[in-house]
């Protein structure tokens, strides 16, 4: 109940201030309480519920056959080649997507950091992919990728390249990857663009006076200052890409022959097609652990960068 009172007009706040503990420590915990409580209730309770669920054989359709299995669900998953394959596809997908987003995002940020007429409008347009919902974005791309009626094959036809089956067995992984990169590169660009603004102009001016070439200025002045920011963007994109679901579901549903079956789809299928909530919970805990490991590795890198 303390936090809403902090937003009262000053007279009331002054009156109430006597009631609030003076010491900064208790004030700190008071201020933190709403956030911590919200997170506990909204995220930690479901997390605990999932942890508990993951140790049970529990199918929504057969609630009476619920039984404790301990690590049974985990063992089943980690010994099942289909699930392991999904895990592997997810990691590969994430690695490619995040790498491409970082490279393209950095290049875009450098490009749009240049002051040119219409820059404001161009930035807004380039941000468009991240502003639209994932379902709409993926459906738009289905319209682009359609072999017979799609825009992409029509454009390629103009320059004399024959039609390709973009969502067939040869290209589906790459096509889905393109959509993921297209939609989320703007986020990376935005973060890096913000990073570029924090680099003091004097530094760049000084290196210019020293006669550094443009490439040298980027390589030895700008890039080192950008590294922590790039890592930051990486952490976020990795976290979100590891659980990718919508573009894959809309474009390929995991096919052909499970070649784009990422863990997000695996969880969805297990939970909402088979209603096997125990196994779905175990799968999501495994995904959480993988995410945590990768993120911690980044964080360590980030800290090392910050220190050096």
């Amino acid at each position: 109940m303390h936090s809403p009172t902090t937003f009262r007009p000053p007279t009331a706040a002054a009156g109430l201030q006597r009631l609030i503990p003076r010491s900064d420590r208790s004030l700190a915990y008071t201020l933190l309480a709403p956030a911590i409580l919200t997170l506990l209730v909204i995220l930690l309770v479901p997390l605990a519920y999932n942890l508990w669920l993951s140790t049970y054989q529990y199918n929504l359709l057969r609630p009476r056959q619920t039984a404790f299995t301990g690590l049974g669900n985990y063992i089943d998953i980690l010994t099942n080649p289909a699930h392991l394959n999904a895990l592997w596809i997810t990691v590969a997908f994430t690695a490619f997507a995040v790498l491409a987003q970082t490279l393209i995002g950095t290049a875009l940020a450098l490009l749009l950091n240049i002051d040119f007429p219409g820059n404001h409008l161009v930035r807004t347009l380039v941000l468009m992919p991240m502003l639209i919902s994932e379902v709409v974005a993926a459906l738009s791309w289905r319209l682009i990728f359609h072999t017979e009626f799609g825009l992409l094959n029509a454009l390629l036809g103009v320059v004399g390249i024959g039609p390709k089956v973009w969502l067939g067995e040869d290209l589906s992984f790459v096509s889905v990857l393109v959509v993921e990169i297209w939609q989320h590169t703007p986020f990376v660009m935005l973060i890096i663009l913000a990073g570029l603004q924090t680099i003091p102009n004097e530094l760049i001016e000084a290196s210019r006076v020293d006669g550094a070439s443009r490439w040298q200025r980027f390589r030895f002045v700008v890039l080192p200052l950008l590294v922590p920011i790039i890592l930051l963007a990486l952490v976020f994109r990795t976290m979100f890409t590891l659980r990718v679901f919508t573009p894959v579901w809309v474009l390929t549903s995991g096919g052909p022959a499970d070649s784009t079956l990422v863990i997000g789809i695996d969880i969805y299928r297990t939970a909402f097609r088979y209603y096997d909530l125990g196994a779905a919970a175990a799968l999501s805990i495994i995904l959480l652990v993988v995410t945590l490991i990768i993120t911690l590795a980044y964080m360590r890198l980030l800290r090392r960068e910050a220190l050096s």
Binding site: I20, V122, V136, E148, G157, W182, R243, A271
Partner: protein
């Protein structure tokens, strides 16, 4: 030298055109489809020149269940998005202030906790949320959506705001405290106004989540609390995707966001710059 500079300008222009084309084409194509007659919405070869029609917009606003729900969904989306943004800021700001300025014991682990819970895949929250909200009669209400949106937004918001508060000079609030403001007074009168751009930048991410989410809105709403993405999802019918109407819904959904982005874009960039990035 002048020639080189000119060449550079041309090269820059070409780059920009290509980038914008790639970013915009898929959505522009979808929006264009909303103006095509059904017969050529999907055709071989794809039609670029055609007589535009408003039939899909008319169908959308007049047609049965989807039509009567559209207005409701639009209002719902705006309310849910706005309230999510406000609640997130109201909860995240004090927390971020405490973590950045007061730094109580356990700050590091609390920070890790707050960020860490965000790693849980949202889809696994759906069933527990449904089951917890059900006995309270809260499914298909705004609260059913606000709970996950605010919960998922707090970590990012706290994180960005921590960096933001750290960058504000301590002297400012110390001066205010010496003037007899008290810490809370200083927070309210000095820090919050200065943090406004940071809060705006943070809110954009909350807003995008709430505006576009389907993971929660689809299972947790039925009739009263449906949002725009649910309407868009309903355009995938048995006989296929109603491309024209989907294009129309998408256009209605994205235009406000683009306009807003155009006007606050500068603040987003500077907000992130002074917040998360520096922190």
């Amino acid at each position: 030298m002048i020639l080189l500079q000119r060449l550079e300008k041309v090269l820059l222009a070409v780059c920009i055109v290509v980038v914008v084309a790639v970013a915009v084409t898929p959505l522009a194509w979808m929006m264009l489809t909303s103006l095509k007659p059904s017969l050529i919405a999907v055709a071989s070869p794809p039609q670029i020149l055609f007589t535009p029609t408003l039939e899909h917009y008319i169908a959308l606003f007049s047609g049965g269940d989807a039509g009567s729900t559209l207005g409701l969904a639009f209002v719902n989306s705006i309310v849910v998005t706005a309230v999510s943004m406000l609640l997130t800021i109201a909860i995240a700001c004090p927390a971020a202030y405490a973590l950045s300025r007061l730094r109580p014991a356990g700050t590091a682990s609390l920070t890790v906790f707050i960020i860490g819970v965000r790693m849980l895949p949202p889809i696994v929250l759906v069933v527990p949320l449904f089951r917890f909200l059900q006995p309270l009669g809260l499914n298909d209400t705004y609260l059913a959506l606000l709970v996950p949106y605010v919960g998922l937004s707090i970590p990012l918001a706290v994180w960005m705001l921590i960096g933001f508060f750290q960058n504000l000079p301590r002297e400012l609030e110390e001066a205010a405290m010496i003037d007899g403001c008290g810490r809370l007074g200083a927070f309210w009168h000095v820090i919050l106004p200065l943090a406004a751009p940071g809060m705006a930048a943070t809110s954009i991410f909350t807003g995008l989540l709430a505006w576009n989410d389907l993971v929660f809105s689809l299972p947790l709403t039925t009739t009263r609390a449906v949002t725009m993405p649910v309407i868009a999802a309903r355009m995938r019918v048995e006989e296929g995707v109603l491309w024209g109407q989907l294009g129309a819904v998408s256009t209605i959904m994205i235009v406000p966001v683009i306009l807003l982005t155009f006007f606050v874009q500068r603040h987003i960039v500077s907000g992130i710059a002074s917040g998360a990035v520096k922190g």
